[in-house]
């Protein structure tokens, strides 16, 4: 469980951390806490698995990763673990997840494939296909972004 104070720290960290020489000290003073206390809390959050990392999230398009393609694969149930692990080894693939199937949705493994354009993404997918033997897959190209935001877990009321 998280204390109200912990929620406040998390809420602050979901925004941008200050670009100052001592960002944690500045965050701490916003909450009227000591820098050392906040640093210890962050270490604790990491140990508890709550905090994955503190770092930058890029605009991949601007950094040259123009295409950001969701790809869905139809993998026989008995091969999901094996195939998922192979997909995870590809540096161009992120978010390799197993998801449920439905009558009108047979694809059970999802990957995000990152490349500079569609051709590059498709080349990566065909490499994955070659390595796994899974050749039933589709690309779900995004044609319009309606929203992309970070989750605000504990908005301040």
């Amino acid at each position: 469980m998280l204390s109200p104070q912990e929620k406040k720290i998390i809420s602050l960290l979901q925004r941008d951390i200050p670009l100052t020489p001592q960002p944690y000290a500045d965050l701490a003073s916003e909450l009227e806490l000591e820098e050392e206390f906040v640093l210890a809390k962050l270490k604790e959050f990491k140990e508890r698995g709550i905090l994955r990392r503190i770092g930058a999230v890029l605009y991949h398009q601007r950094a040259g990763y123009e295409a950001n393609s969701m790809c869905a694969w139809q993998v026989p149930a008995v091969r999901v673990d094996e195939v998922g692990k192979i997909m995870a080894t590809f540096p161009q693939a992120s978010h390799v997840y197993e998801r449920p199937t439905y009558d009108d949705w047979p694809y059970n493994l999802f990957t995000m494939i990152h490349g500079r354009n569609r051709e590059e993404c498709e080349a990566v997918a065909s490499e994955i296909s070659g390595k796994t033997g899974i050749d039933d897959y589709i690309f779900l190209y995004s044609t319009r972004e309606f929203k992309k935001a970070s989750m605000d877990y504990f908005p301040r009321e």
């Binding site: 960002p23 930058a56 950094a63 040259g64 990763y65 997909m87 197993e98 989750m151 877990y153």
Partner: protein
């Protein structure tokens, strides 16, 4: 769409973008340590990061949390929306609390969004509401059942 692509980035900027994607040190002067790795001093490093942020290469610098460990549940939802209603439905979806990503995609299922929400009953309630939006013909709830790989760092 105009893209700066990599053309707008010098070698130093690329090194900085690679450095800031890694986990920041939990020390009093985190940027000082990161600056050292790319051959700058703390002040120069901070200035350059500000520049890269201002130019829009960096979306956010902050904490990345595990929603599950925070007690939230998340899912991916695919909708089939009649094309003439798509924009209207997309705008309603974007306004729902907990919707973080919402994209039109090239498929029969043409609107895809992610939802991060505190409880299963809230999730159920939200999905039922969305299903009733005018223009929504089908809804697939696709929560991750197994994670093989989560994020990724981008070698710039």
């Amino acid at each position: 769409m105009i893209s700066n692509g990599e053309a707008g980035l010098c070698e130093l900027d690329k090194k900085i973008l690679n450095a800031v994607q890694k986990d920041f040190p939990l020390t009093s002067h985190p940027f000082k340590e990161m600056a050292k790795q790319v051959g700058l001093n703390e002040e120069q490093f901070i200035l350059r990061v500000k520049y890269l942020k201002g130019k829009g290469f960096i979306r956010r610098l902050g904490g990345v949390f595990d929603s599950k460990k925070l007690g939230f549940i998340s899912t991916l939802v695919a909708l089939r929306v009649s094309p003439e209603k798509l924009e209207q439905v997309a705008e309603r979806v974007s306004l729902l609390p907990g919707v973080t990503h919402n994209y039109q995609r090239e498929h029969y299922f043409n609107l895809w969004f992610t939802l991060v929400i505190p409880t299963p009953s809230k999730l159920e309630e939200t999905l039922q509401a969305v299903q009733k939006y005018e223009g929504v013909e089908k809804l697939l709830n696709l929560p991750a059942q197994k994670l093989f790989k989560i994020g990724v760092n981008f070698k710039i």
